[in-house]
Symmetry: C2
Subunit: 441 residues, 2 copies
């Protein structure tokens, strides 16, 4: 039955880790995919920058004429896995203009878009799917856009970057400093030659923008996401974290917040944070990803799995291809994200969370009182404070360190407090400020 149907033509752009796995799945699972789609799936061509042999696909399928490939009459679905924002954007828009449905894993492109790709797909009445753009093999886009479509999402918090999670897990387990954990990650292929996209939080910020957009039905771009990376995290921070029965994770957080005057806003942010050991995200180790969604009716739902890697990512891409192909065969389109809400972006200063502040102080009476006064002045309530002596190599006490854990306060109030602390004579320096997420106030 299935084979009598007109085949669905697929063009794959990019033949790296993910692209080659997608081609392998299309070829090796042909019979199953045809049965699920109701028509055979046929690979029409693979677009690459330079055509050369030894790629593992018949040379006749390779082409560097991307424009030509995506506008071919016998191509129904274009799978964009080339990487950078350009030329991917141009290729996708050309494909859409020619009536092709598009599957992409390009988070940077999706997160830089203010919805122009979605609008183009809407106008052309084609599908634009991107399950693989966030958290690799883990289904999060469909659960958010479909399963939770009748609920009100309050918060999405996730570990969405495997490289930084590997580095932080490594620092925690071995006591290594950031530089050597990064070096280990590079040797194992977890970190790129230029690790900035990962360690400075750009990759996680793109994913946060995508998650916030679909969770809250609004437009959030990567530029709207407040971002801090992990490069300043020290072994000392992990020692302090352990003392608080916490670990440190780079979190992407998307939150619906209500301003003092009742305005509903969206906060999207990426930063390393203390997470209690009992929180489900604390146990997500190594290169794994996890996303926790909190919605009004569903409560807390968690998704966990492999967030990167050619094969797992290809699973998500292949799922999108099957869905887009089914829609072609049945003459419909899948549901798409809605952007009706148009919520303003909350500046980081308005975001409330808890904080851990450690500072080096003079070892003399009255210091703790002076420090506590600065917190009190700005209504930042202290939950816990600890003072430890700092000794030099000879065992001589040379100063003290104060660690403060606050209750919930706005980022603005906390930042002002930290500036004031730095101005105090008794405070030599504020060593570290980290947010504490995943606890009740």
């Amino acid at each position: 039955m299935a084979t009598e149907q007109k085949p669905v033509g697929v063009a794959v752009l990019g033949y790296g880790n993910v692209g080659s796995e997608v081609v392998r799945i299309i070829e090796n699972s042909a019979a199953d995919l045809a049965a699920r789609i109701g028509a055979p799936l046929v690979l029409r061509g693979v677009g690459v920058r330079r055509v050369n042999a030894n790629r593992g696909v018949p040379i006749g399928l390779l082409t560097d004429d991307i424009d030509g490939l995506v506008s071919r009459d016998d191509v129904d679905i274009v799978v964009e896995l080339m990487g950078p924002v350009e030329p991917a954007r141009k290729a996708i828009l050309t494909a859409i203009e020619h009536g092709k449905s598009v599957v992409t894993a390009n988070k940077a492109l999706l997160a830089s878009s203010t919805g122009d790709l979605a609008r183009a797909a809407e106008r052309a009445h084609v599908d634009l799917y991107f399950e693989a753009a966030v958290a690799g093999a883990i289904p999060v886009i469909r659960p958010l856009t479909q399963s939770l479509a009748g609920d009100t999402v309050q918060r999405v918090a996730g570990i969405v970057n495997g490289t930084t999670n590997y580095i932080l897990s490594e620092m925690e387990t071995t006591g290594a400093d950031y530089a050597s954990a990064l070096a280990d990650a590079s040797v194992l292929g977890y970190a790129e030659a230029d690790p900035s996209a990962d360690v400075d939080g750009y990759d996680a910020a793109s994913k946060a923008a995508i998650l916030a957009s679909i969770a809250f039905h609004t437009t959030v771009t990567a530029d709207d996401v407040y971002r801090e990376g992990i490069t300043a995290i020290t072994p000392d921070d992990f020692v302090s974290a352990r003392a608080l029965n916490c670990t440190i994770k780079l979190l992407a957080i998307c939150e619906r917040i209500t301003d003092a005057d009742g305005t509903e806003m969206v906060s999207a942010r990426v930063y390393p944070a203390l997470v209690p050991a009992t929180h489900p995200l604390a146990t997500v180790g190594g290169a794994f990803n996890a996303v926790v969604v909190e919605a009004e009716a569903s409560g807390r739902v968690m998704f966990y799995g492999q967030g990167a890697g050619g094969t797992p990512t290809a699973s998500a891409v292949a799922g999108d291809i099957v869905m887009a192909a089914r829609n072609r065969v049945q003459g419909g389109r899948g549901p798409r994200e809605s952007k009706y809400a148009q919520l303003p972006i909350a500046p980081i200063g308005k975001v409330s969370t808890r904080y851990y502040v450690s500072m080096d102080v003079a070892d003399k009476p009255g210091v703790l009182a002076a420090v506590a006064a600065e917190f009190a002045k700005r209504e930042v309530s202290i939950a816990e404070v600890r003072q430890e002596g700092v000794v030099d190599d000879g065992g001589q006490r040379v100063g003290a360190r104060i660690v403060v854990v606050t209750h919930r306060a706005t980022d603005a109030a906390l930042s002002e407090t930290v500036r004031a602390l730095e101005d105090l004579d008794a405070v030599a320096s504020v060593a570290s400020v980290l947010r504490l997420e995943g606890t009740n106030p």
Copy 2:
């Protein structure tokens, strides 16, 4: 824009915990739902067994004429939350015949069906959604049918019944026996007056049938699911489990297995099993649910959240309503499960797993050798064996207990071994046989 569209009419059948929450969501989130759907959602009526006041819905909306309600011209979507297989099946088929899309949480009905509901929906070209039928608020149906549509699922293992998970968690934590843990669960409202559907594994078996059907694109009914409940689990089993660094969970397992002659089969089964403390399912406590999916490309993906309760289940139902309504507005249909594979059901004898067997034996030399010989004869390889003395109240040694943990073996070989052990003179009785899941061989 949205409000100029013709509204989408909804009829809700059943007004219990879930039904009343669904009605609440439709009313309280009206503006949001309308924006997401592209048209307003209007509640046309609520079908109940007996119309009486004080239900919290306007009396005019209540009706006991189910047939009349589901065939009304201004109803587009029928939401079936009545419960038992009948009259739910009749109501759903009538609704489908009248061209209505159907959303249901009725796992018993879905699992007793060999596909007649799906075929009726196919013929009538309407949607049949049931995200809420398995694991409440946790999205598992859409991830399996859509996100993993391009992958080959090998195994689905889940904790899908909150009542039994609560009872087992309670037994583990407090050392209580089954009867008193069940009594606690009843007091807290976690167990029904007649707990059989939960504790004998019928509810989990329905969910296993649904999961196996969609994961493997084949037909599996509840009758095809091998089933053991938790009523025979003793505090002793938990002591033994702890000694093996395991816990005990009621698992629903769906697995693709290959027979000795190369035939591909599906195994679907529900039983209490030892699970290593390090396995992600081991930490799922209380009334929570979790489902782990293992697929060829994606690797292991886990979903976790609240598996029951009116409000979480209503979230899943509301998501289905929004998706069915969007399809109405856009003139299409959603993707449905495919059943092309028609895999045979594997009898339990052909299923391979590991086992824990404890037995009371005579305290004399040669017993261990005799016991080991029975395992060896049937090629059941022993991984670990432990012998302990059993003492009476006076501190007198009166016998011994042998605990054996096997490597992977077929259920047939293990069952035969157990029968042979029971026939041995030296073995007083086989106290307990439990499967060990979630480890490598």
